[in-house]
Subunit: 312 residues, 2 copies
């Protein structure tokens, strides 16, 4: 496209690492069970497309997340490749032991910035949940693992409304103190707008959290995911969580609350000349293939625009 | 939300004028005819919600756009209010005469940045279409009207691919020379990304087009509408075209190619503290009401998240 100029945006990085959360965060919200073989093939296809960080599954008890009851079998089937990280969510020490037995080298814990969601999701206070995570993070780090700390409800909470920045900074810095190697700031109900993204990132770096340890995890509930991501990148963030095809969120709910689609982000980053190492065409093919297995269309705008329906 | 900070983004304006294009650009793409009474009530509701620029209809021949064959009756039924502009699209001198007879004070003409789309949409070359518009614009300005010049395919064209910046600047400056009081830059197939938006705006201002005469008109085909708008605002643009509920584009096509939804933009601008004068709640109610008449859901994320289904 000679003569079709693009102007550099201030502060944009040259490259972005995408943390692909589809196999865990996406599939755990599917109403119908997905075959273990399909899950493993999904992960292989994501690696084929160029992903280097693929959140593979969760060691949460099947009573709570029956969709991922086959976590161990999925990990056994995937041919884990050198240079690709396959983080696994672990809720507690028991989950960590299971992960270590399977040779996992990257884990994630899932914390909340608000008391209401800590109670609803973890059945304990924020402080008690951090006490629960402390030995998990410590043991994992001793074993040489990376530990991603998810921090949910960073901008808004369905019970508490807008979440004060200082409260998020407090929980975030405690997760870093416990040994998390990365923080993923979640806009779990999708209410953030670009100015509030900038405010929280500024407060976190002012509190001493290095920007290169911060990832962002936006939901597209109000259509703000890409604009929020753009502002985060301009603030120095270089790791973004997305899911192939916008997987996640309940397709049967009137309000889609799913993850930002990896393809929509790739379209933007390719246009901006920011490298990701991920092949958009292969990823769209993967999302169309998976949509066939889920018997529904992807909510991603780019997948709908570029994808050809395939046999499931 | 005390303590829930928002950081100012560089270059953002304090206020934005939304040009609501739902009644014309939206409804002209509806596969089924919409009652004249519904159209008039839609426009009244948009004014009630606080809109001050509402593109009301089009004087295009009913053979080409049967959906707007009742243009004159719609204009007669709407109680046009002081302080609200109701631009009407006019294709030629005949259309202008009809508009003037109806007391219209704001018109728009629809040009193309590419030869392929000029042929497909206007059945003539770019130069010939400008020759056709020249007397329309001249007569309208003599009559004291404002004239908006739509410039479509500013970033990409389905036949020609990416459109060279110089080509867009050439047609844009000719429209301004002919007397257009405002230019609306259309990303008709939705392929723009933020860097290309900035490049075109920079080239236009370098060519002498004042930024306060430029509006942007993004489609959400690849999910980029809001991020592109944000960058345009940071470049000094203060007029943005959107449609209530994301009206426009064919709901039956696999790839939605509709307008950016006004509600999604309002959510972002409210979060950023940028004034629009439009009430989000009233607008969502309007979009839900209209969706009932169209027998389908709005594609807007914000409408789906906030709207309660109503009787049609």
């Amino acid at each position: 496209m000679s003569g079709c100029g693009t102007a550099p945006l201030p502060g944009l990085p040259e490259a972005v690492t995408i943390c692909e959360v589809g196999p865990r965060d996406g599939l755990q919200n599917e109403p119908r069970p997905v075959d273990t073989g399909v899950k493993a093939e999904f992960i292989e296809r994501l690696a084929d497309a160029g992903h280097r960080v693929i959140e593979a599954t969760s060691m949460v008890h099947p009573k709570w997340v029956p969709q991922l009851a086959d976590a161990e079998e999925v990990l056994r089937r995937v041919d884990r490749r050198p240079g690709v990280r396959y983080p696994v969510l672990v809720p507690n020490e028991r989950g960590l032991r299971r992960a270590l037995d399977l040779g996992v080298s990257d884990i994630a814990v899932f914390a909340s910035a608000t008391e209401s969601f800590a109670q609803a999701n973890l059945n304990r206070t924020v402080a008690a949940s951090l006490d629960m995570f402390a030995p998990v993070i410590g043991l994992a780090r001793e074993a040489g693992l990376t530990v991603r700390g998810y921090l949910s409800m960073c901008w808004g909470d369905p019970w508490e409304g807008a979440v004060p920045t200082a409260q998020v900074v407090d929980v975030a810095t405690r997760l870093i103190s416990l040994g998390c190697t990365e923080l993923s700031l979640g806009d779990t109900i999708g209410v953030a707008t670009p100015g509030r993204v900038g405010a929280l990132l500024g407060a976190l770096t002012a509190a001493g959290v290095p920007i290169d340890r911060i990832a962002v995890h936006f939901h597209d509930t109000y259509g703000q995911g890409l604009a929020n991501t753009l502002v985060a990148l301009q603030h120095g963030v270089t790791t973004v969580d997305t899911s192939a095809g916008g997987l996640g969120g309940c397709p049967y709910a009137r309000s889609a609350t799913g993850n930002l689609a990896t393809e929509d982000l790739l379209w933007q980053l390719e246009g901006l000349g920011v490298r990701t190492g991920v092949d958009l065409t292969k990823l769209v093919q993967t999302s169309v293939w998976l949509a066939g297995h889920l018997s529904r269309e992807s909510p991603s705008a780019v997948v709908r625009a570029l994808g050809e329906p395939q046999e499931g």
